[in-house]
């Protein structure tokens, strides 16, 4: 039972939900259903969808591998300049599309800070699927870090202290106490990161390029379709929305600690 939900808040909540739901419904109503099947099963659409799913999944894994430690460092330790680091980590959220791509080019591009190092090592990032994954990871990482950090802070460190007094090493505490306790936040963060990676557009376009089957993800395909056929673009957008919805409904199950 809950005791802190005044009734007037429900009205505001309903208005807020409608504000998001209506445009999605409105978009659905614009779809030309007679052509929908053909549009979303075209070779280009299928290739883009598959590429999107593959790259978004890989980005999500990268986000988990690097994002969870980042959240842990931000939530559980203190170091000079911590607030600045947190703010910088969140910056990809604010970068408009294109600018993120320019930033990535300046570092991982052929003439970027690290580009020559990579070139020497024989790693070719330019115009490859790797570039897409990097772009998506860049924009999705903040989502994961944020979710996990918030959950870590809220769950507090008391159980970790108890585990340590019972003889558990930091590794054991991390594996058997911290991770299971923040699992809801972790799953939520991973779903968000996946969703954000799935919708990534600007950085991919600028950094990775747009070639069918290699770098042209579904958002890029949508954008391109729009040049000639707005209906096709809306149909593809609906496909993207449907995929995102399925993933979210299937996995996003945040739970409290009670």
């Amino acid at each position: 039972m809950t005791f802190g939900v005044p009734r007037w808040t429900l009205i505001l909540a309903a208005v807020g939900a409608l504000f998001i739901v209506l445009p999605i419904v409105g978009m659905t109503l614009r779809v030309d259903w007679s052509r929908f099947g053909a549009l979303v099963t075209s070779e280009a659409a299928v290739a883009a969808l598959l590429l999107s799913l593959r790259t978004a999944a890989m980005s999500t894994v990268l986000c988990l591998v690097f994002g969870v430690p980042m959240a842990l460092a931000l939530a559980r330790s203190r170091f000079p300049g911590q607030r600045l680091v947190r703010a910088v980590v969140l910056l990809p959220l604010v970068l408009p599309p294109v600018v993120g791509g320019i930033a990535l080019l300046s570092t991982f591009g052929r003439r970027g800070l690290l580009g020559e190092t990579f070139e020497v090592l024989g790693i070719q990032i330019a115009f490859s699927t790797t570039a897409v994954v990097l772009a998506q990871t860049f924009v999705a990482l903040p989502f994961l870090v944020l979710s996990v950090e918030a959950t870590l802070r809220a769950s507090g460190a008391r159980f970790e202290a108890v585990a340590a007094t019972l003889g558990a090493t930091p590794g054991t505490v991390f594996r058997r106490v911290t991770l299971p306790l923040v699992l809801p936040g972790l799953v939520a963060g991973a779903v968000l990161a996946f969703a954000r990676a799935l919708g990534e557009f600007g950085a991919t376009l600028t950094f990775a390029g747009s070639l069918q089957g290699v770098t042209r993800t579904l958002p890029l395909e949508i954008y391109l379709q729009r040049e000639t056929d707005a209906d096709a673009a809306v149909a593809l957008a609906l496909l993207l929305v449907a995929v995102a919805l399925i993933v979210m409904v299937a996995t996003h199950r945040p739970r409290g600690l009670s």
Partner: protein, 267 residues
């Protein structure tokens, strides 16, 4: 397993120094806010003193110069052993059972962390659960326990970790009256050959379980000595109030003792 401790923690107004001999059980007494929990948390490594030194069996638990954390010019570098490396176990004042683990896995946590196999840890856990008379709760999640049940499981979890130094902060809280004698018997059996610091408000617990008592007040030790001696000749107001109505003429108070050996407390 000798504990030698001297510590100053200004934020809590604490300044203490004492020793616990191998196999000895020391009861930590004192009024609310006297610093009892602070002392055991310092021993466990959950708190860092401003300065002081503690060794367990010769191993340094902490050794901090008065200059403050990481003080500059000290020749001897500061040492602070993290809790997991101390092989001390703390039963805190709140049960704090891991909410995501079953009761059995909570109790098996200590043995598992000490490197026991999964099966062996579970067997150990079941033994301790049965010693604490809560075997039937083994498969529950902590969220579905009553207050006293949670406390019993927390005791079992602390005992199962079989530490060099056991730190018990009010282990009898929330236990029902039929459980207290059994719990006291259990502790007596377990504490027998270990070094233990036992925080309690109940003089009977001290009498039944402790070889020696240390009385804290405002963060300082105000009285110290063998249990029966301190209780027979209380030197401070606190111990007088504590032992007020406690009849020490009878034989040593032992778990399971009959009514004739029973001391008396005033209401």
């Amino acid at each position: 397993m000798t504990l030698e401790l001297a510590a100053v923690m200004r934020r809590r107004g604490l300044e203490v120094a004492f020793t616990v001999s191998p196999g000895e059980t020391v009861a930590l007494l004192g009024s609310n806010g006297a610093g009892k929990s602070t002392v055991v948390e310092l021993c466990a490594g959950l708190l860092r003193p401003d300065s002081g030194r503690a060794t367990l069996d010769g191993q340094v638990l902490f050794d901090l110069a008065a200059g403050g954390a990481g003080g500059g010019g000290a020749v001897r570098p500061d040492t602070f052993l993290p809790p997991h490396a101390r092989r001390t176990v703390l039963l805190a004042q709140e049960p704090l059972l891991f909410p995501h683990l079953s009761v059995r896995d909570n109790v098996a946590f200590g043995p598992r962390s000490a490197g026991e196999s999964r099966a062996a840890s579970r067997r150990l856990a079941d033994e301790w659960l049965s010693a604490a008379e809560v075997s039937e709760l083994a498969d529950r999640r902590p969220g579905r326990l009553s207050g006293g049940q949670a406390q019993r499981v927390a005791v079992a979890r602390a005992l199962a970790a079989s530490p060099r130094l056991l730190l018990l902060d009010e282990p009898m809280t929330a236990l029902d009256v039929t459980a207290v004698p059994a719990q006291r018997r259990l502790l007596h059996r377990v504490l027998f050959d270990r070094s233990v610091i036992l925080v309690t408000h109940d003089p009977l617990d001290a009498l039944a379980l402790a070889d020696r008592v240390i009385v804290l007040q405002g963060g300082r030790i105000i009285e110290e000595g063998p249990t029966r001696a301190v209780f027979a000749h209380p030197q401070t107001e606190f111990t007088r109030a504590l032992t007020f109505g406690l009849d020490l003429s009878a034989g040593p108070a032992m778990p399971g003792g009959g009514p004739d050996s029973a001391p008396i407390i005033g209401v």
